[in-house]
């Protein structure tokens, strides 16, 4: 289990993270202003905040999709800023799982084939990949829908397939950007329950959401405001 970490080690370590868009230009936007943040294995955190505060930006930076202006992001003690494109891809492939609001499944592939894609990309093929994909479908409760195409699945089921795909290479951490945004409340709750289950299995999960009730199903809710991240409790206290 390459991805196994001791419970005390940080899965995600963010130090003094800053992000500016259009730096040095008239329309410069200073989104993140020195964020320090850590996650340990099994942490399930929700990140909330007003629209445009930089939640998705933060998620994209820690998920290796966007570069920061300043500061460091480490996943499994490896600094993302030092990595080239291939290393970053490797990091996303092996250690990070992404869950998007729009699911991002490929229409012409079955649920099973969608999950096999990241396995193939990571060098796991044929029977081994198929077994692993079936296990993941079982994990998300869709083992009987393995040959269904995305069009034949409900929104919740599609998101479960997307989560299974995110888990394909046994990542240490999942980043979920509004994973319930396209779902109704009860289906959203089912997805959160699944995240909870995964967190109990040791997966760290950082979820961006607008939904307060779903956010409170997480271990800890963080608020991003004015470029700074605070625990919800601290935020309320400060108010």
């Amino acid at each position: 289990m390459e991805n196994a970490l001791t419970h005390t080690e940080n899965v995600l370590q963010i130090k003094d993270l800053e992000k500016k868009f259009n730096e040095g230009k008239r329309n410069e936007v200073y989104v993140l202003k020195g964020i320090d943040f850590q996650m340990k294995p099994g942490d399930f955190f929700a990140l909330m905040g007003p629209s445009g505060c930089g939640k998705s930006t933060l998620l994209n930076i820690v998920g290796g999709l966007l570069e920061s202006t300043k500061g460091t992001v480490e996943i499994k003690n490896k600094r993302l800023g030092d990595m080239d494109d291939n290393d970053l891809t490797e990091m996303r492939s092996k250690n990070i799982g992404w869950v998007f609001q729009s699911f991002g499944l490929i229409d012409n592939l079955t649920a099973l084939e969608n999950i096999i894609i990241p396995l193939n990309l990571a060098g796991i093929y044929d029977k081994e990949a198929e077994t692993r994909a079936n296990e993941l479908l079982k994990l998300v409760g869709l083992e009987d829908r393995y040959d269904h195409f995305p069009d034949g699945l409900s929104g919740g089921q599609q998101q479960r397939v997307a989560i299974a795909r995110a888990l394909a290479n046994d990542p240490v951490i999942l980043f979920a950007d509004e994973p319930t945004g396209n779902l109704d409340t009860s289906t959203g709750l089912e997805i959160i329950a699944l995240f909870k289950e995964l967190s109990n299995m040791g997966k760290s999960i950082l979820m961006v959401t607008h939904d307060v009730s779903l956010a409170h199903a997480s271990d800890q809710v963080f608020i991003l405001r004015n470029g700074k991240v605070k625990k919800e409790v601290e935020e309320i206290t400060s108010i």
Binding site: N60, T89, W98, I117, N120, L121, G123, N169
Partner: protein, 981 residues
């Protein structure tokens, strides 16, 4: 006063209203939005380029064809005007004394529209109930074969001092112009025919005037001995970029120029009086064309006729004027209409292709805006407002595209005129470019009008559908793709299968199976089937490019290189959609490129085969008399060996056969040694190779190869036995000897040397027939040499022969060998056809088709790949976020497209080959019309290597387009692209 004031007020109000109306109208033109529209065009380069490329290609092609055709017509029309030394001639009715003619000439000269006049005499016309029979006798001999009919022109002393005579002087004139003496000027072709040179003496010319009417039948004779050749001119045959429609002009090859003084010679009195009596003298008039509307043939004709009538009206005596160039101009106009139709037929595939591109470009452009349109509708924009934006962009692109297209059309037209063979362009004549670099209203208006019409139809039809779509459908970018009526009802398959009947006919022809189909039906099949095959085949191709990759998927995806992306590729192969439409364009364009390549090569090969057949060997020499000239020929420096050809007429049943014999034993030996003298074609004989045919004649000297037509007329078939009736030469009653058991060995299609024939027989049989005719023992003749009037010669250097060596041989044949009537050098004529610009531009048009097709392939590939990849950015971003490297993205796109593109490339070539065979019938027809040789079958030449190269270039081009398009998708900002749906 009041009323007046009211009227004035009303007028003022009316004027004000008019002005207001005008202002309102101009206000309605959204001039202020032009910068925004330009900005929108520049910001959305891909969709703008897709549409612009369609507009530019269409306008370029159509304008190019119009400009070329216009210039070709103008050039030939100018040729007619320039090559006629005088446009008008006047005749004095009833009084043609030299003094009266001089008076008339001086009178006409005074007209400011006239540049030159001169007095001439020649055959007037049959309308005057008289005609001239004039025979030139080159040498003192009684042999009638040596006579040649000529058209005498008697000219005044001042003929060569004015513009009328200058026409002849400009025709590569050699020698002197002074005809005051026993002199003549003849054409260079005439001199070559008789082996004359300037200064030589012609034995004599016999003149006969035949006068015929209801009351009198009279013949007037004249005779001029010992005429010295004073000068020569190169008569018009074919000129560069000129059609051969100027025959019959006063400067063609049959004319012989003499002085009017010769009519006063003692042997010419009767003839001279006859000419005067029947009004064969006239005043030739050259006009100043700059004072006439010469640009328009019809108006020019009318103005000339008006000029003639004005002169006639103003002159005291009864004179009659004739418009000399009316006939050629009318002929030219008919011919040019026909040529235009042919060009359009040839250009139809590419025109359809460019219109399809235009349609597709607009559709892709609309597709790109689907989301934008929906969002604007959500924001409250009306359909009208959205549509007006689309209109403005389309109009601006149309204006820009039309200007670019027209300019490129000029270059295209210039390029065609600079083509000497398929894709052989020599841009030497820069002055010709200036001829094309002008604004031709019709060449601009018609293409732009047609393109505008298509744009209006497509914009309204497709634009309305897009704009009226459901907002949610637009926002989500998901649409329910409805299959087009054409494909839904499998009409493409129906068309394709129907057009295969044409191919079946081609195969039947290739296998030489006799099927009774009328020429008209055959022509209609060959005219329409290519289009049906092309459209049906290309559309079916979109099914094939989906079907074949799916069938090959299992093998293809097993390749180790695709192991890590095989599921994504699998998904892509299933999806296709728009890429199938790209495949249709690729198949359509590639098939046209293949058609152009195949027919271009066929046209060139045919031209080469044509002169190979006509000349028959490295050199062809024709003698006045039959004889054994082997030694004479073989002694000429540069000649290696020769082969005699002889012919005779013989009767079988009631049919006279023209039997042709060649020295078949000698040629068979040559063939066995790999050094045949004659240029045999693979299709000279049906079912026999030339060597096998000669061997068959050797084995069976009573064998005979018969032409297809003769076989039909004789109601015979291969293998039948016929009798020949040999006339006894000394019999005055037409007695014959019957030669039995002549076996028809096979069918012969043509023979080297361009001879007309009914049958091909062995040398032995030919000599036997000659002996029997003379009632001699045939056995004593069989070992004789075959004499001939025609000889085919092999030179010692063949293709390596230099121009100087050719000139030297020609000089020897002209000056040192007696009895040579004509000769032709294969390599000289080959050089001519390789360097002469095409008058009709068939290979030029094919080259244009080829270039446009390849450009269309590349433009389509780049524009549409970019658009298709843009649509998949989100998918690629998701894949990147779940662990796909950039290399994976490249591999996926190339893997997905490679099988499809490869299939499309191969299918495109297949369709191109099919159309080429189907279109061959049309090209045969074109060649018949434009005067080409049709005795040879037009065998389709499939240039395998070139087709593979075209296919490979297209494939690589498409892969390159995919690669470049993927580059931006692979390097995109993932944080944004993962969000965009």
């Amino acid at each position: 006063m009041k009323n007046n004031n009211n009227d004035n007020n009303n007028n003022n109000n009316s004027n004000k209203n008019k002005t207001k109306g005008k202002i309102e109208f101009y206000k309605r033109i959204p001039l202020e939005t032009i910068p925004n529209t330009f900005y929108a065009i520049f910001r959305n380069k891909r969709r703008s380029m897709a549409m612009l490329s369609g507009i530019v290609l269409s306008v370029t092609l159509l304008s190019g064809i119009f400009l070329y055709n216009a210039e070709l017509k103008q050039n030939n029309y100018d040729g007619i005007v320039e090559n006629y030394p005088y446009e008008v001639r006047f005749d004095i009715i009833g009084n043609e004394t030299y003094s009266e003619l001089s008076k008339l000439s001086n009178n006409i000269s005074a007209d400011s529209r006239v540049t030159d006049t001169t007095i001439m005499a020649s055959e007037y016309s049959n309308l005057r109930n008289n005609w001239l029979d004039t025979y030139l006798i080159p040498k003192a001999t009684d042999e009638i074969e040596e006579y040649m009919e000529v058209d005498p022109i008697f000219v005044d002393d001042d003929y060569f001092t004015g513009p009328i005579g200058e026409t002849l002087l400009s025709m590569d004139f050699k020698g002197e112009t002074d005809l005051t003496g026993q002199y003549v000027i003849i054409s260079e072709q005439f001199m070559n025919h008789y082996g004359f040179k300037i200064g030589d003496t012609i034995h004599s010319i016999n003149f006969t005037q035949n006068i015929y009417n209801d009351e009198v039948n009279q013949m007037n004779f004249g005779f001029l001995p010992n005429l010295t050749i004073r000068g020569s001119y190169k008569a018009i045959l074919y000129e560069e970029f000129t059609m051969d429609i100027v025959g019959g002009s006063p400067v063609d090859g049959q004319k012989i120029y003499l002085s009017l003084d010769r009519l006063n010679d003692e042997n010419m009195t009767e003839f001279n009086e006859g000419l005067h009596a029947t009004g064969n003298f006239y005043v030739a008039v050259k006009i100043d064309v700059t004072q006439f509307n010469v640009g328009d043939p019809t108006t020019f004709n009318d103005e000339l006729n008006q000029f003639i009538n004005q002169i006639t009206r103003d002159y005291d005596l009864d004179i009659q004027g004739f418009n000399m160039i009316e006939g050629p101009i009318m002929g030219f106009q008919f011919f040019s209409i026909f040529i235009t139709i042919l060009y359009v037929v040839l250009a139809i595939p590419v025109i359809l292709l460019s219109l399809y591109l235009l349609n597709f470009g607009l559709e892709m452009s609309l597709e790109e805006r689907r989301r934008l349109i929906a969002i604007k509708k959500v924001q409250g924009a009306s359909s009208k407002q959205i549509f007006s934006e689309l209109q403005k962009e389309t109009v601006l692109l149309l204006i820009v595209g039309s200007v670019i297209g027209y300019l490129l059309g000029i270059i295209a037209a210039w390029s065609i005129s600079s083509i000497s063979g398929f894709m052989e362009i020599e841009f030497t004549a820069t002055n010709r470019f200036l001829d094309f670099f002008r604004f031709d209203l019709w060449a601009f208006i018609l293409p732009v009008g047609l393109v505008s019409l298509i744009l209006i139809i497509v914009t309204y039809k497709k634009g309305k559908t897009f704009i009226d779509q459901e907002v949610t459908e637009g926002v989500s970018r998901r649409e329910v793709k409805k299959e087009k009526f054409f494909k839904r009802n499998k009409l493409d398959v129906v068309l394709f299968v129907a057009s295969l009947s044409g191919l079946v006919l081609v195969i039947i022809d290739l296998l030489k199976i006799q099927v009774q189909i009328s020429g008209f039906t055959r022509f209609m099949i060959f005219l329409f089937m290519p289009f049906i095959f092309w459209i049906g085949g290309s559309s079916v191709g979109s099914r094939v490019v989906k079907w074949i990759p799916l069938k090959l998927e299992a093998i293809f995806l097993r390749l180790p290189v695709f192991r890590d992306v095989k599921n994504v590729i699998k998904s892509g192969l299933k999806r296709r959609g728009d890429i199938e439409r790209l495949a249709v364009i690729i198949i359509m364009t590639l098939s046209i490129a293949s058609l152009a390549t195949i027919q271009g090569n066929t046209e060139e090969t045919q031209a080469q085969r044509n002169i190979q057949w006509q000349i028959g060997a490295d050199w062809q020499i024709n003698f006045v008399d039959e004889g054994d000239f082997h030694e004479t020929i073989n002694n000429i420096s540069g000649f290696e060996d020769s082969l005699a050809i002889n012919q005779m007429y013989l009767r079988t049943l009631s049919f006279y056969m023209q039997l042709t014999a060649i020295e078949n034993f000698k040629e068979l030996d040559n063939m066995k040694n790999g050094t045949p003298i004659a240029m045999w074609q693979p299709d000279t004989f049906n079912t026999y190779t030339p060597q096998n045919a000669l061997q068959a004649l050797y084995d069976n000297s009573n064998g005979i190869f018969v032409s297809q037509d003769s076989l039909f007329v004789l109601d015979a078939k291969v293998g039948d036995v016929i009798d020949l009736r040999i006339p006894i030469s000394e019999s005055s009653t037409g007695e014959t000897i019957k030669l039995e058991d002549i076996k028809i060995l096979g069918i012969v299609n043509q023979l080297p040397g361009g001879t007309m024939f009914s049958a091909f027989i062995s040398q032995k049989l030919f000599l036997e027939i000659q002996a029997l005719s003379l009632q001699l023992d045939a056995n004593t003749y069989e070992n004789n040499t075959l004499n001939g009037t025609q000889y085919l010669v092999r030179t010692d250097k063949e293709a390596a022969i230099t121009t100087e060596e050719i000139d030297q041989i020609q000089l020897t044949l002209n000056t040192e060998i007696d009895g040579v009537s004509s000769h032709r050098s294969y390599y000289e004529e080959l050089e001519d056809i390789n360097t002469t610009k095409e008058g009709y531009g068939i290979t030029g048009l094919l080259s244009l088709n080829f270039i446009i097709s390849l450009v269309a392939v590349l433009v389509s590939a780049f524009s549409f790949s970019a658009i298709l990849m843009e649509r998949r950015k989100h998918e690629f971003a998701i894949l990147r976020s779940i662990g796909a490297k950039k290399s994976h993205i490249y591999k996926m796109a190339l893997g997905e497209n490679s099988l499809m593109m490869l299939t499309a490339s191969i299918w495109g070539i297949f369709i191109g080959v099919g159309i080429s065979y189907l279109f061959n019938g049309v090209f045969i027809f074109i060649n018949m019309i434009v005067g080409g040789q049709i005795s040879l079958n037009r065998t389709v030449v499939i240039p395998g290597l070139e087709l593979v190269i075209i296919s490979a270039v297209t494939f690589i081009g498409m892969m390159l387009a995919t690669l470049l398009s993927v580059k931006s998708a692979a390097n995109q900002d993932l944080s944004l692209a993962t969000k965009v749906v």
